[in-house]
C-alpha cells in the first residue's frame, strides 16, 4: 500500500480542499510512512470478522416534515429576512 503525490492531490480534490504543490510533497513523504504502518493490518486474518450491523431504522425517527406551527414560527423568527413564508439565507455566489 503506498500513496503518491497524485493520490494526495486527488484526495484533496475529493475533499474540496486546495492542496499546493509544496503541501503535496510534504504530505506524500509523511503519508508514505503512515501507510507503511497501516500495511501491517493486511497481515491480520479478518476472514471471519463480521462487522456489527446497526439497524438505524430502529433508532431514528421517521424523516417527515414537522407540522408544528409554533416551531415553524420559532424557526422562521431566527432569520432576519423572510419572503413569502420562506427564510432568506445568505447568497453564496
Amino acid at each position: 500500500m503506498s500513496i503518491t503525490k497524485q493520490d494526495v492531490a486527488l484526495s484533496g480534490k475529493l475533499a474540496k480542499m486546495a492542496v499546493t504543490e509544496q503541501e503535496a510533497s510534504i504530505y506524500e513523504a509523511q503519508l508514505e510512512a503512515l501507510f507503511k504502518w497501516v500495511k501491517e493490518l493486511s497481515a491480520v486474518n479478518t476472514d471471519n470478522v463480521k462487522l456489527t450491523n446497526v439497524n438505524l431504522a430502529a433508532h431514528l425517527r421517521k424523516d417527515v416534515p414537522a407540522e408544528d406551527a409554533a416551531l415553524a414560527a420559532q424557526l422562521r423568527a431566527v432569520f432576519a429576512e423572510q419572503e413569502k413564508d420562506c427564510a432568506k439565507v445568505k447568497k453564496v455566489l
Partner: protein, 471 residues
C-alpha cells in the same frame, strides 16, 4: 489552588464565597497565563456573575450543587451558548455557540463556575498542542516542554493551579496523555458514559469528554456530575451513575490487575520501571497481578489513524462556508468557493482529511477502511475476553515523558506513536485513567494508565486512588 472537595466544603459552609474562589482563580490565570498560554479566553465577567449568583443562592438558604463555586476550564471544542468555540482553528475564528453542550449545562447546574476556554490542538488533532492557532502551550512543570495534547491547555491549566479542574476531550488519548505529561489526573470514561451533545465532532465513534484534575477524588466527583444518559445523544448509555468517590476501598483485595504481555517491550527504562513499581504497589494493596494476552491491541494505532481520519473527513465536511466556518467571498465559481472556504484548515487537519478521504476512496476502501474496521472488532473482542479474566489493565500512559517544544515535528509519525498506549482505549471503547506515578531523571512527570471495561469507571478510579496515595 484548593481541591474541588475543599472548595465545595468552603462555599457550602460559607467559610469562603464563590466570588473569592473565582477571583483567586482569575488572579492565578492573570499571573501565569501569559507564559503558559493554557487559556485562550477568560470569561471574567460571566464567571464573576455566576459566582455571585451562587453566593446569593446560599444566602437565600438554597441548597448548593455538587460543584458549588468550583472554577472549571472548558476545552475550546465544547459549546457554551453565547461564547466562542473555535477548536483553536482559523476556520472557526468567529464562531459563537448557539446552544450549550450537555457537559457544560451539567457543570452549571451543579453550581460550578465556567472560567474560560482552554487551548488545544486544532480540531483536537495532535499530541503536543503545537497546532493551535493561538500558539503553543507551555508545560507548567518545564516551560520549555510541550504539555501534550490535544487537551494541552486543560492539563496545563490544572497543573499550573489556575483551576482545580478542566474538561477535555479524548479521541486517541487527548485527555490522558497531556495529564501524564503535566503530572495531573485525566480520565476518559468508557464510550457513552458522558454525552457528546455540543462537543464539536472529530471522530464520532471515538470522541469522549474527559476530566482533568489535580487528584483522583476530584476527578471522580466531577465525573459523577457529568455522567449519565442524555436524550440529545443517542450514543450515551442508560445506566445508573455511582457515587464514584464513595466506592474507594481501604485496600484492593479481590481486584485482579492484568499486565498485558509484551506491552513494556522496548519501552524507555525509566517509564518501564515506574509501571513495574505501580504493579508492585497494587499488589501490596491486595490486588492480584495476572499476565494477560491482548494480541490484536498492537494494531490499535494504525486502525485509529485510518478510522478516525475517515470519520474526520466526513465530520469536517460541514466546514464549507455555507453550513459552518469561514466564507470565501471572492470566489467566482462553486469549486473555488469550496476550496477558498476550506483553506483556513491547518496542515495537520488537512492531512487527516486527506488520509480519511483516501481511505474511503473506492480503490482503497476495502484494504484501508474496511480492514481497519474489521481489525477494530478483533481488538474489541480481545478486550472483552481479557475483562472476563481481570478487572483492570495496567499500562504506561505514554512511551515518553514531555518533550521539548519543536523537538518532534508536529506532523510526523513519531508524534503519532505518542498515542500508542492510549488510542487502544478509544478503539476498544474502554474507560481509561492516567495517574501521576513518579518522575523521570529530568524531573518530568510519568503517568501510568489503568483501563477498565465500559461502565466500570469506579474500578479504575479506585485503583488509581491507591496508586496516588502511595506516592
Amino acid at each position: 489552588m484548593m481541591t474541588v472537595s475543599e472548595i465545595v466544603k468552603a462555599v457550602t459552609q460559607g467559610t469562603q464565597t464563590a466570588e473569592q474562589i473565582t477571583r483567586e482563580s482569575l488572579k492565578v490565570i492573570a499571573e501565569k497565563n501569559p507564559r503558559i498560554n493554557a487559556f485562550v479566553e477568560v470569561f471574567e465577567q460571566d464567571a464573576l456573575a455566576q459566582a455571585k449568583a451562587i453566593d446569593e443562592k446560599r444566602s437565600r438558604g438554597e441548597k448548593l450543587g455538587a460543584l458549588a463555586g468550583v472554577p472549571v476550564g472548558i476545552k475550546d471544542n465544547l459549546l457554551y451558548k453565547g461564547h466562542k468555540a473555535t477548536c483553536c482553528s482559523k476556520m472557526l475564528a468567529n464562531y459563537v455557540a448557539s446552544y450549550t453542550s450537555t457537559v457544560v449545562e451539567k457543570l452549571i447546574a451543579a453550581d460550578a463556575v465556567i472560567i474560560g476556554r482552554t487551548n488545544m490542538d486544532e480540531f483536537a488533532m495532535g499530541s503536543s498542542n503545537q497546532t493551535s492557532v493561538y500558539g503553543v502551550v507551555h508545560n507548567p512543570v518545564d516551560e520549555t516542554c510541550v504539555p501534550g495534547g490535544s487537551s494541552g491547555g486543560s492539563a496545563a491549566a490544572v497543573a499550573a493551579g489556575m483551576v482545580p479542574v478542566a474538561l477535555g476531550t479524548d479521541t486517541g488519548g487527548s485527555v490522558r496523555q497531556p495529564a501524564g505529561f503535566c503530572g495531573v489526573v485525566g480520565i476518559k470514561p468508557g464510550y457513552g458514559r458522558i454525552s457528546r451533545y455540543g462537543v464539536i465532532a472529530f471522530a464520532s465513534s471515538a470522541d469522549q469528554v474527559g476530566v482533568l484534575a489535580a487528584n483522583v477524588r476530584d476527578t471522580a466527583d466531577v465525573l459523577e456530575v457529568l455522567a449519565g444518559k442524555d436524550v440529545h445523544d443517542s450514543t450515551s448509555l442508560e445506566a445508573p451513575v455511582p457515587a464514584y468517590s464513595q466506592q474507594f476501598t481501604a485496600d484492593l483485595k479481590g481486584l485482579k490487575v492484568g499486565l498485558p504481555k509484551g506491552f513494556l517491550d522496548g519501552l524507555n527504562e525509566t517509564i518501564k520501571s515506574r509501571v513495574e513499581a505501580a504493579a508492585q504497589t497494587l499488589k501490596e494493596k491486595g490486588a492480584e497481578l495476572v499476565e494477560v494476552e491482548v494480541p490484536y491491541a498492537k494494531y490499535s494505532a494504525p486502525c485509529y489513524y485510518i478510522i478516525t481520519s475517515a470519520e474526520a473527513s466526513s465530520n469536517l465536511g460541514r466546514y464549507d462556508g455555507i453550513r459552518y466556518g469561514y466564507t470565501d467571498t471572492q470566489a467566482q465559481d462553486l469549486n473555488a468557493y469550496y476550496e477558498g472556504s476550506r483553506a483556513p484548515f491547518g496542515l495537520e487537519v488537512k492531512k487527516r482529511i486527506i488520509i480519511g478521504t483516501y481511505a474511503l476512496t473506492s480503490g482503497r476502501y476495502e484494504e484501508c477502511f474496511l480492514k481497519a474496521m474489521k481489525v477494530r472488532e478483533l481488538i474489541r473482542e480481545d478486550f472483552k475476553k481479557v475483562f472476563t479474566q481481570v478487572d483492570v489493565l495496567l499500562t504506561p500512559t505514554s512511551p515518553t515523558t514531555a518533550f521539548k517544544i519543536g523537538a518532534v515535528e508536529e506532523n510526523s509519525l513519531a508524534l503519532y506513536l505518542a498515542d500508542l498506549y492510549t488510542c487502544q482505549g478509544n478503539i476498544g471503547g474502554l474507560a481509561g485513567i492516567s495517574v501521576p506515578f513518579g518522575k523521570d531523571e529530568k524531573n518530568l512527570p510519568i503517568g501510568v494508565q489503568l483501563y477498565g471495561p465500559i461502565l466500570q469507571e469506579e474500578k479504575i478510579l479506585n485503583a488509581a486512588y491507591h496508586l496516588e496515595k502511595s506516592i
